[in-house]
Symmetry: D2
Amino acid sequence: MDKYKQAIEELIKFRNERDWEQFHDSKNLALAISIEAAELNELFLWKKESESDNVNIEKLKEELADVLSFSLLLAEKHNLDIFDIVLEKIKRNAEKYPVDKAKGTAKKYDEL
Amino acid sequence: MDKYKQAIEELIKFRNERDWEQFHDSKNLALAISIEAAELNELFLWKKESESDNVNIEKLKEELADVLSFSLLLAEKHNLDIFDIVLEKIKRNAEKYPVDKAKGTAKKYDEL
Amino acid sequence: MDKYKQAIEELIKFRNERDWEQFHDSKNLALAISIEAAELNELFLWKKESESDNVNIEKLKEELADVLSFSLLLAEKHNLDIFDIVLEKIKRNAEKYPVDKAKGTAKKYDEL
Amino acid sequence: MDKYKQAIEELIKFRNERDWEQFHDSKNLALAISIEAAELNELFLWKKESESDNVNIEKLKEELADVLSFSLLLAEKHNLDIFDIVLEKIKRNAEKYPVDKAKGTAKKYDEL
């Protein structure tokens, strides 16, 4: 079985064994993503960006996994394949950020 | 080519064509995940949870894709396979949330 | 002494005694606000909105105080009076959300 | 009238004129704080911390005002004075971060 399918199946099994589907509406899943993203950011708080790649890798793995787990569950709830939506978004972003205007600048598309 | 590999390659190609790797330290990638997660949450702000599965699917796809794209880039930077870290985290969570204590409750593990 | 001035003075004293001003650039203060806001949100995760006013008041006080403390420090760094900027923003929002269009709806101003 | 009282009164007037109290349960107010905090953080995304004090002051005022407005409304809903809870939290933090251990370090209290 491929790993994507396996991850989804184990996430759902974990959820169902605990009878947690009742809590997993889209709004709460999105909120959970946001809270886990903040825990990920806490690893970098007060640290220099230039040193931020030196993060504790075990903690990074845990917090990033939490963000991903709720993202996978939210995608699954809406029958979305995460790679399809990422590939589709890259195409949209290529229109919003044309190479000749966006190269080397961190400006937002509406300021290019 | 499998879709995971393809998504990573296209994300990196998109980034490199724009010379954006200079901005993508771990701290800023984590911050970007958090900001995109907030945009995802904005789709649900002031809405009822019970109605939240009825979200605009096109917007959901875009915001969730943004969260996932930066998550994929952060994982790639640290040579992490997203499914490996998710599967590993499920095991840890199974210890923190044993079925007999966690079933049917939304309490945090330190309150079980 | 008024309480606003007192709060700022005590926040700065606390910071300076610990030699933390070095960490308190605007970007990190904003990040701290965001992380504390997520901790505040965690009090409501998986809970029903309709029951959310029943939150643990001691925890609410702590998390909201953290959001406010970093907000006060960021305002102070830029010589902003928090009430002046709030009053000014209410005026701007009154233009973005005219009563006749915004009444009773949770739509964003660009969808009104 | 003092400015704190004035700000609260104008926030409530703004809300009531638009019949928005129905949306302002504690959970949604906390979520709004978090979303506005992310917009504040977006001003600093991809920027160097060392240059972050050079932020666009008009945008900073607007985003910080949004964070503060929802924080004031959440405090008001629970009959909390923002300065009282900040001063109380400083005392708690002084216990969690004793000067001799916390001086000059950005470590969290549980790592001191």
